[in-house]
C-alpha cells in the first residue's frame, strides 16, 4: 500500500494517517502481535474489499452494541462501519422492515461461506423458541440459517456466550448460549456484560487480516483477552495480600480503596483483561473494581448471573503448586563431611586409646600373674 492509498483511507475515516497507523499498531499489540502486523492490518483495513458482517440480535439489551459504539480510538464508529461491511444489524442498519430482511438474505447469498456471523443475546429454546422473533421467524431459525454460510461465528456478550441474564435463575424462556444451539460448530466467545469492545475488535481484525482466529481457551474465549485472572492484574491486589478489605460500601476501607473481596468481588475466579485495558479509553481506573464495585464475574461461566453478588469467590490464583511451603519442608543441615570426619576422628581416638591401654594392661596382667605364681 502506498502513501497515497493510506491518505485516502485516512481521509475517508476522518482521521490523520498518523493516527490511523497508531490505531492499527495498538490493535496488533492488544492481540499480542508484532509491530509489523500493525502495518499489515492497516493494509487490510484500507483495502477496498471489506468483509461482510451479519450481526444478529437475540434476547439482548443492546449493551454489547452500545459498548462497541463507544470504542473511541479516533472515531471508531466511523472506522468499524467503513472497515467491515455491516450488511445487517438490527440496531444500526439503514433499511427497515422487509427491506432489511431482504438485504440480509441477499448479502448472505452473495458472500456465502465468507461472511462473519456475530450474535449478541441469548437464544430462547423453550416452546419452539417463540420468545424472540424477528420478521416472523424465531431467532433460533435465523441463527441456525445464518450459521450455515458463516466463515466464522462470534458470540458477543455473556448472553450469547452461555445464556447470561435471560438464562439466570428459573430461566423462563429456556435461554441458551449460541454454542448450545449450534452443535458441532466452532464458536468464538467474547463474554462480558458488556464485553470490552477492543477484545471484539482485535479478534475481528485478526480474522480480516490473516484469515485466522486467535488462540482460544477451554471456554472458547480468545486467550489474549481472557488468559489471566482479573485478580492477577488488579490494582487493589496489594490490599488483598495484606489483608486490607472493605466490609461495606462506603466504610473506611472502601474509602481507602481496599480490596473488595469481602464484598463479593469475583476477580479471583474470573478471567478477563479488564484491569489492563479498562473501559472507555479514559484511564484512571475506569473499570468496575477501579471505581469501587466488586467484579461480578460476567466473563466467567457459572459465576456472573449465577453466584450471588455477595458470595465470596473461590480464589483460583493460589491453587498449589505455586509458592506455598509444603507440609514438611526440610529444615536443618544433614551430615557435613567435616563433621563426619571429626566424629570419626573422635571415635578413632577413643577406640585407639582403649586399644593401647588394653595392650599395656595385658603386660601388667602378665606381670601380675607371674608375681602371683611366684608367691
Amino acid at each position: 500500500m502506498n502513501n497515497n492509498e493510506l491518505q485516502q483511507v485516512a481521509e475517508r475515516l476522518g482521521v490523520s494517517r498518523r493516527s490511523f497507523m497508531k490505531f492499527c499498531t495498538g490493535v496488533a499489540a492488544t492481540l499480542g502481535l508484532s509491530a509489523t502486523a500493525g502495518a499489515q492490518m492497516a493494509h487490510a483495513i484500507s483495502s477496498p474489499r471489506r468483509p461482510t458482517v451479519i450481526w444478529l440480535s437475540a434476547q439482548e439489551c443492546t449493551g454489547c452494541t452500545e459498548s462497541l459504539l463507544r470504542s473511541n480510538h479516533p472515531s471508531l464508529e466511523h472506522l468499524i462501519l467503513d472497515l467491515i461491511s455491516l450488511d445487517y444489524s438490527e440496531t444500526l442498519s439503514t433499511p427497515a422492515g422487509h427491506a432489511a430482511e431482504a438485504t440480509k438474505q441477499q448479502s448472505m447469498k452473495d458472500n456465502w461461506g465468507k461472511y462473519i456471523l456475530v450474535v449478541d443475546g441469548a437464544i430462547p429454546t423453550k416452546d419452539g423458541g417463540i420468545y424472540c422473533k424477528v420478521a416472523g421467524r424465531t431467532i433460533l431459525e435465523h441463527v441456525q440459517e445464518a450459521a450455515e454460510g458463516a466463515a466464522a461465528i462470534i458470540s458477543i456478550g455473556s448472553c450469547a456466550s452461555w445464556g447470561g441474564i435471560p438464562s439466570a435463575g428459573i430461566n423462563p424462556t429456556g435461554a441458551k448460549g449460541v454454542d448450545e444451539v449450534l452443535p458441532g460448530k466452532t464458536i468464538l466467545n467474547i463474554p462480558g456484560c458488556p464485553p470490552n469492545p477492543y477484545n471484539f475488535l482485535a479478534t475481528v481484525l485478526q480474522f480480516v487480516t490473516f484469515g485466522t482466529l486467535p488462540e482460544l481457551d477451554h471456554l472458547n474465549r480468545p486467550k489474549f483477552a481472557y488468559g489471566r485472572l482479573i485478580h492477577e492484574n488488579c490494582e487493589r491486589r496489594p490490599h488483598f495480600d495484606a489483608g486490607r478489605f472493605a466490609l461495606e460500601f462506603g466504610d473506611e476501607g472502601h474509602k481507602q480503596g481496599f480490596c473488595l473481596y469481602k464484598l463479593g468481588c469475583k476477580g479471583p475466579e474470573t478471567y478477563a483483561n479488564c484491569p489492563s485495558i479498562e473501559f472507555g479509553d479514559v484511564g484512571g481506573g475506569a473499570w468496575p473494581v477501579g471505581v469501587g464495585h466488586p467484579c461480578f464475574g460476567c466473563t466467567e461461566k457459572g459465576v456472573g448471573f449465577e453466584k450471588g453478588i455477595h458470595q465470596l469467590a473461590d480464589v483460583k490464583t493460589v491453587t498449589p503448586p505455586t509458592t506455598f511451603p509444603g507440609i514438611a519442608e526440610p529444615v536443618g543441615d544433614g551430615v557435613t563431611p567435616g563433621a563426619a570426619a571429626l566424629l570419626g576422628a573422635v571415635g578413632g581416638a577413643v577406640l585407639g586409646a582403649t586399644a593401647m591401654a588394653v595392650k599395656q594392661l595385658g603386660k601388667l596382667d602378665a606381670e601380675e600373674q607371674t608375681s602371683e605364681s611366684n608367691q
Binding site: E329, V346, V350, V358, G362
Partner: protein, 384 residues
C-alpha cells in the same frame, strides 16, 4: 598421715599442649557463639532445640562423671572401705565432669543472663523436670567442690580446717549421694514430656527415670575402671585391677537388671519390632543393646574377668552403651516431625572436644600437683 600424694612429673608435656590447643579452639568458637548467637556456631534448629552440647556435655557427661557418686555410695553408704583409695580420683573426675556440664549448660542456654531465675523461688516451676535437674546439678557441683576441699587443705597444710570440715563432711557425702540419684533419674524423665517425638524404642515414659539412673550408676562404676586403667597406663600408676575385680558382681547385676527392665518394657509396650525394621533407629538400638550384652559375656567368663585388659574392654563397652542409649533417646531417635533434621556442626563438635580437653587438662593438673592419687602401699613399685 595422708593416704594420698601428688604424682608429680612435668605438667607441660606434648599431650598437655595438644589438649590446650583443642581447648583454645573451643574458646575461640565460644567467643563467636556469644557475640553472634547460637545459630552461627551450631546446627541447632527450631525442631532440634538440643544438640550435642546438651546431650553430650550434660546428659552423657554427667553420667560419665558418676564415678564420685557410685564410690561414695559404695564406700560410705554400703561401707565397702577397701575401695576408699579410688574415691579421690573419681571425685576429681566427677567435679570436672559436673562443672563442665554446668558450663555446657550455660553456653547452650539461650538467655544465660537470666540463669539466676532458676534460683528465684517466685519463678520456680515445680512441675518442671528441668528445674529439678538444674537445681540438683548446681547443688551437686557445689557439694563436689566441698567434698574435694580436704585435698586442697591437705596440699596447703591447713590441717585444722581439714579436721573441721571432716567432722561435718558426712552431711555433704549424704547429700552428694542423694542429689545424683535425683537428677540422674530426672535426666531420663526430661524426655517424658517430649512424648511422641521420642522413638518408641526409647520412650519408656514411667520407666525413663529408672533406666537413666541404672545406666548412670553403671557408667559410674565403669568410669572408675576406665580412669584407673588409663592412669595405670598413661600416668604409670600401679594397676588397680585387683580392686576393679570386686566391682564385677555389682556391674553384672546392674547390667542384668537393666536389660530385664529395658527389654521387658519394650515387650510390654509391644514395640520391640522396631528394632528389626532395618531403620537407622532400629540398628542403633541393636548396637546399643549389643554393647550392653557383650560385657556380660566378658564379666562372667572366669578366665577373662581376672585380667585388667578385659575389664577395661567391658567397661568401655558399657560406657559406650550408656552414652549411646542417651544419644539415641535424645538425638538419633528424636523426630520432631515437620521435616526437621539435625547433625552437629564442625564447630559444635570442636567445642565439645574442647570441653573434654579442659576436663582432662584439669584432671592432669590436679593429680600432678595435689594429693589425689593413692599412695602405693600394696603395689608400690619402682614407679613411685
Amino acid at each position: 598421715m595422708s593416704h594420698h600424694q601428688p604424682i608429680g612429673g612435668r605438667l607441660l608435656t606434648l599431650p598437655f599442649l595438644f589438649l590446650s590447643a583443642l581447648a583454645l579452639i573451643a574458646i575461640y568458637i565460644l567467643i563467636e557463639r556469644f557475640t553472634t548467637g547460637l545459630g552461627a556456631v551450631t546446627a541447632l534448629n527450631d525442631g532440634f532445640p538440643w544438640g550435642i552440647w546438651v546431650v553430650y556435655d550434660i546428659v552423657v557427661g554427667t553420667a560419665f562423671a558418676c564415678g564420685g557418686y557410685v564410690l561414695a555410695l559404695t564406700v560410705y553408704i554400703a561401707n565397702k572401705g577397701k575401695y576408699h583409695p579410688l574415691v579421690r580420683p573419681a571425685l576429681l573426675a566427677s567435679l570436672f565432669g559436673y562443672s563442665l556440664g554446668g558450663l555446657g549448660a550455660v553456653i547452650d542456654m539461650g538467655r544465660y543472663w537470666n540463669f539466676y531465675q532458676m534460683f528465684n523461688p517466685g519463678q520456680m516451676n515445680f512441675n518442671s523436670v528441668m528445674l529439678e535437674v538444674g537445681l540438683c546439678v548446681s547443688a551437686y557441683s557445689l557439694v563436689l567442690m566441698i567434698e574435694f576441699l580436704p585435698v586442697i587443705f591437705e596440699k596447703f597444710r591447713a590441717h585444722e580446717w581439714k579436721a573441721r570440715l571432716e567432722k561435718v563432711l558426712f552431711i555433704f557425702i549424704a547429700i552428694g549421694v542423694l542429689l545424683p540419684t535425683m537428677h540422674q533419674s530426672s535426666l531420663g524423665s526430661l524426655l517424658i514430656a517430649m512424648g511422641g517425638k521420642v522413638h518408641p524404642l526409647w520412650q519408656s515414659a514411667h520407666l525413663m527415670p529408672v533406666l537413666a539412673l541404672t545406666t548412670a550408676i553403671l557408667m559410674g562404676f565403669c568410669i572408675v575402671i576406665f580412669e584407673g586403667s588409663m592412669a595405670a597406663v598413661g600416668l604409670r600408676q600401679p594397676s588397680e585391677t585387683h580392686m576393679h575385680r570386686g566391682l564385677i558382681k555389682v556391674i553384672s547385676g546392674l547390667v542384668l537388671a537393666y536389660l530385664v527392665v529395658r527389654l521387658g518394657d519394650l515387650l510390654m509396650r509391644g514395640v520391640l519390632g522396631y528394632a528389626f525394621d532395618g531403620s537407622l533407629q532400629g540398628n542403633m538400638f541393636l548396637l546399643e543393646t549389643t554393647l550392653f550384652v557383650l560385657p556380660l559375656a566378658i564379666l562372667t567368663n572366669k578366665g577373662w574377668n581376672r585380667q585388667g585388659r578385659f575389664l577395661l574392654i567391658a567397661a568401655v563397652s558399657l560406657l559406650l552403651a550408656g552414652a549411646l542409649y542417651r544419644f539415641n533417646a535424645f538425638l538419633i531417635g528424636f523426630d520432631p516431625g515437620d521435616g526437621y533434621i539435625y547433625f552437629p556442626s564442625v564447630k559444635e563438635i570442636l567445642v565439645t572436644i574442647g570441653v573434654v580437653a579442659i576436663e582432662i587438662l584439669g584432671y592432669l593438673f590436679f593429680v600432678r600437683l595435689f594429693p589425689v592419687m593413692p599412695k602405693h602401699a600394696v603395689h608400690g613399685t619402682a614407679q613411685a
